[in-house]
């Protein structure tokens, strides 16, 4: 097993296999990003503010191209707020104007008030470029794994360690 590391070509090949697994996963993610034109085409719902449509742990698939029509009232969108790094999933409830400068207001289905409180200081509405995608599909509950991983960071280290060890030790 480990004796194969004595041969430089074999060691290089094993290291390459490990590298290619990581880079293929990354490039698939980037490919999906490019296709959907969204920096983060898959997001996990972290709060219950969109219940009963989406529960905590649901995996959302986003699409960020306006091919057939503009982003309209009623669509569930994911947006980023300046200086906050967690994207928010809420529904567009008001829209003023058309085109890239249209003013959009969002609200969580399960919230009693609209999102003006959540926006950055001095910001009263969203524009199209704040949005990173509209929800076009979802897979219930699958995202709970990532919630677990982000709430217990040591699990990440353990998982990565086990994966690396398995790849290095097996040669098939």
């Amino acid at each position: 097993m480990l004796s194969s590391l004595g041969n430089p070509r074999q060691a290089a090949a094993q290291l390459m296999n490990f590298g290619l697994i990581l880079s293929t996963a990354f490039m698939m993610w980037k490919g999906l990003s490019v296709m959907t034109d969204s920096p983060s085409p898959i997001v996990v719902v972290l709060s219950g503010s969109m219940e009963p449509a989406f529960q905590r742990g649901d995996l959302l698939l986003l699409w960020n191209r306006n091919i057939a029509s503009e982003t309209n009232v009623g669509e569930v969108v994911v947006y980023n707020v300046k200086d906050k790094d967690i994207p928010i999933v809420h529904r567009v409830v008001r829209k003023f104007g058309v085109g890239p400068d249209a003013k959009l207001l969002t609200k969580g289905d399960n919230n009693s008030a609209d999102d003006t409180e959540l926006y950055a200081r001095g910001q009263d509405y969203l524009v199209r470029k704040d949005i990173i995608g509209s929800v076009v599909g979802y897979i219930p509950f699958v995202g709970y794994v990532t919630i677990m991983l982000s709430e217990h960071p040591w699990l990440k280290t353990v998982m990565l360690g086990i994966m690396g060890l398995v790849v290095v030790l097996q040669r098939e």
């Binding site: 041969n7 090949a13 590298g19 290619l20 880079s23 990354f26 490039m27 990003s33 490019v34 034109d37």
Partner: protein, 240 residues
Amino acid sequence: MAVSAERITVYNLADLKNTSDDAIPNYLNSLKFTQSHRLTDVRLALGYSAFVVAAACFLWDFKFGFESTKYYTAVAVALYSLLNGVLTYWIFSVEKGTVYTGTAPSGETLRISTSTKKNVPEYYLSVEVEQPRKNGGKTETLVVVRSFTNWFDEAGHFVVKPFQSMLASAIPIVGKLDPKRLESSEDQPPAYTSEMLDALTSAGVSAVGTAAETATGADASSSLTGNGKKGGPAGKRRKA
């Protein structure tokens, strides 16, 4: 020397194959074959350039964000898929399980690919010998199938001699370079030693004896010691 110090699990087909694969270059290079690493080197070059593309993409994405670099990212994704596609093609259609390519001192090129079938403890070698161009450049292919039990003992040690004589007798140009490993010149040990025959006889007795239930225990133990004897001399014989 004749038996490897390292032990493998004899039930692990990948271990059996990998250990045997590793022994082929060792043996052939010792016979003054010149090994060619072209296939491996091309595979490594393809794989590592794909990895470099991905790493570069990761860096600019990390540094400058998605929006300002998305066209470069699109190009990188296309390039990465292309390189990975070529790599897959290379592994499955060009390398095809090749474990050794090399040139004999007399000019023939030799290419050995090996494979196994799931749950079958047999080593499939496909050997391609190409005559040097001045002799017409003819290519000959021969297929050899041998059980791994020929060169692994019960404990999982790799036994060099039977493995090398398998190669020498199966591949004429190897046999020519190493005539003392040819199977015909090797004195074959008898198929069954007298101890093994004894063990077989006692096992036969126990099989008959199972009809009488009281006798079963004693017979089973005698057949066990018989097996122990069988393993002992067999191991010694291989080392000799």
